[in-house]
Amino acid sequence: MADLTPQADIIDENQSLWETKRQPAGCTLCHRVFLVQEAIIGSSCPLCQKGQLETQPARMRPTAPEQMLPFKLGRKRLSRIYEDFVSGVWIKPEDFRAEKLLSRTTAVFWPLWLVDSDVSGHWEMEAGFDYQAETYKEAYSGGQWQSRKQVETRVRWEPRLGQINTHVENVTVPALEEHENRLAMTGRYQLDRGQPFDPDQLGKALLEVPDLPPEEAWPLATPQIEREAAQICKQAADAQHIRNFHLKADYQNLNWTEFFLPMYTSFYTDDEGQAQIVVINGESGEIRGPRMASRKRGLRIAGIMAVIAAVFLALALFGALLTLVIPPIGLIAILFGFMGLGLGIAAIIPAVWPGQWNRKQGDGPRMMPRR
């Protein structure tokens, strides 16, 4: 029984790693840990906007990251993304504006583990091989038959088993406990476009520190390595499909490195003064986050409409009284009456709509509070 994963070290709060001129700092509230430039110490946490980033030691592996995906979006593109994001909401909070979101944007790299391993053992699976078969459609019309041949692609399943003695490289494994939620916020990345880690490409971005050390991420790594092994076995068997793949293997010479993925975060405050985090995938430009409507503004608009409606109704009443003296005014009174009534009913919409809209926003992905 061999130890598979090297232990993490404690990185001192003043220690700079990987020539990045960044030091460990953690959020006082959500406890996420980042490697940040000194100038950022004391600013709000980009992922919760509730706590502050303060220097602290970090428990992490000192090995330099292996790969990164650089940011691909310029300021203009970000501005357009925010404008599109904001424009979809009718009655929005004062703070929910594209220019504000742009000014509050922070670049963050978040981590994945890249695992290399020797895999040796035996496997079995059902291998699916495509084959083509003929089938026929016959049609009879006007006393004559017409035959139409169709070629269908079907799958023949056959058992295959064997031994594997191979090396898998760069199997991606979650490095954050909230990996799934993070991925739901950012959307997918094209991981095959990873570049070697280069501190010069970091810019002012924060580097998020893994909170799943290799020893805790190992149970998540094995299925990924198995999946990789399954693909290798599928290729070895010249199969087009596989199912029921089972592997019994030894994993040796494990190597864990980090892969950093780019994302932008920003925020706006809603009616209740809560910071709502918005995330943009730094590669694809996908934007996710709650788009809250303002109930307060909705009620304000509804109130104004109600007052105008009341004025119209009062004018209608006054007009009705005047009809006793000048009968043609009755028509104007009716018109005012209808306008007042219509506006009064329409006032319900801005009062109710924000609540309905916000309820729907609860279903979408959002940055979850941590611990």
């Binding site: 029984m1 040796s120 058992p159 295959r160």
Partner: protein, 435 residues
């Protein structure tokens, strides 16, 4: 703390798995052993006791030596209708079209060491030098195109003579002395190739269907009520489903085996199918397919779609149909290549040679039979005579009064009936002689 689990103990693949080529270095791939077995190789049959030639004995149900009496049962599995069938893969179809590859093939006799040249469709032979029986089915390029199932002979050679004699004696329009004078040659048992097809057919039809409607109206000119029948045409549609199971198509060419006679031997009971074992063919003749799978399926398809058409027509409640159109979608099509037992014989009568076939499973017999044409003509004359005579009698009676017309009408009816029966009889007689 994650640790590795040791799986480094020696591993060996299960039995019946063989190492196959792997496309990735470092990965060994094992696959189930292909089904090619010893029994598919050319096999010689000699008695393990006395070394004499042995053959499959129908009554013993095994391979028997007629010299020392040694009997070995055939190790075959009864599969019946559950016998494996195959899909119409493009691979198989193209393989089937290529046939057996060579016109002649060399079969090595491992009893005496000589090389025998045999035709491509011959599955069994007897060595010219040592007289040992051989069974050979390895000539097909693809595994599935070798016979995998067969129905063994259940009718013995002794029974064939009795059945044939009885059959020759049947039928009044054959020469009376046929059963006595026919020189019947020995029946030769042969396994003939057949394709069987299974398919599901979903048929949809659309047609104008006519419904007869009787109505009465007053004819002012004739001043009477008239009843007339008219047809109401309506567009209708429907669907029907056909389950085709073991549709049989012969794999032999017409020039070798009369398909007309062969079809009269049907049906074979497919519940009798057994897995192929060369032992069944020992000492018997066997033929490989000459009609390719593609051609056999094409002819089966034609017949099946006509069946579907008939089924659609059966769905229509009246016989008034016009503008009929339909579609038939085939699905789950599959095929089997099997060998079925047939006895072939010929007999000589009046210097003419006639073919006879006998179903080796059921004992059904069919074949050519000479016709005593004078009997046929006499019978036809007898059938036409009543009508003609009545008509002739009716003519002079016309002069007497209304009685004549009745005789003439009856005469015509009888004459028409006579023609119909004569036609049937004539056709039957022609068929009896047809090849």
């Amino acid at each position: 703390m994650p640790t590795n689990q040791s799986h480094s103990q020696p591993w060996s693949p299960p039995e019946q798995f063989v190492l196959v080529e792997s496309s990735v270095p470092g990965v060994m791939v094992y696959a189930p052993q292909p089904e090619t077995t010893k029994s598919d190789r050319a096999k010689s049959f000699a008695c393990p006791n006395c070394g004499a030639n042995i053959t499959y004995d129908v009554s013993a149900g095994g391979v028997a030596c007629e010299y020392c009496g040694h009997i070995a049962p055939v190790k075959s599995v009864h599969v019946g209708r559950n016998a494996e069938d195959f899909e119409f893969t493009l691979e198989t179809l193209s393989q089937s079209n290529r046939g057996w590859g060579t016109q002649r093939q060399i079969l090595h006799c491992d009893s005496c060491g000589s090389d025998l040249s045999i035709s491509e469709s011959t599955l069994t032979t007897t060595c010219l030098f040592c007289a040992s029986n051989k069974v050979n089915v390895i000539t097909s390029l693809e595994e599935t195109l070798r016979p995998r199932f067969l129905i063994p002979f259940t009718v013995t050679r002794d029974q064939t003579q009795k059945i044939a004699s009885q059959w020759l004696g049947k039928g009044w329009y054959h020469p009376d002395e046929l059963a006595r004078n026919a020189i019947l040659r020995k029946f030769v048992g042969i396994y003939l190739p057949f394709w069987t097809f299974d398919t599901q057919v979903d048929a949809r039809w659309r047609a104008q269907v006519g419904y007869e409607k009787t109505e009465r109206h007053y004819n002012a000119r004739e001043k009477r009520w008239v009843t007339r029948t008219r047809i109401d045409w309506r567009w209708e549609n429907g669907k029907t489903h056909l389950n085709i199971d073991d549709f049989l198509v012969s794999g032999s060419h017409q020039r070798h085996i009369s398909q007309l006679i062969l079809k009269r031997l049907y049906p074979y009971d497919m519940n009798g199918l057994k897995t192929y074992q060369p032992d069944y063919l020992a000492g018997w003749q066997a033929q490989a397919y000459e009609v390719t799978l593609t051609d056999a399926w094409a002819s089966a398809k034609k017949a099946i779609r006509e069946k579907a058409k008939t089924a659609c027509h059966r769905d229509i409640p009246t016989h008034h149909v016009r503008n009929f159109s339909m579609s038939a979608d085939f699905r789950d099509e599959s095929w089997r290549y099997i060998l079925l037992p047939v006895y072939l014989a010929a007999y000589k009568y009046d210097n003419q040679v006639y073919q006879v076939m006998l179903n080796g499973q059921t004992g059904a017999i069919a074949g050519q039979k000479p016709i005593a044409w004078w009997k046929i003509w006499l019978a036809i004359a007898a059938m036409l005579a009543p009508g003609t005579l009545l008509g002739l009698i009716g003519l002079p009676l016309l002069l007497v009064g209304g009685v004549g017309i009745i005789a003439i009408v009856l005469g015509i009816i009888l004459f028409v009936l006579g023609i119909i029966f004569s036609f049937i009889l004539y056709n039957k007689a022609r068929e009896s002689e047809a090849k």
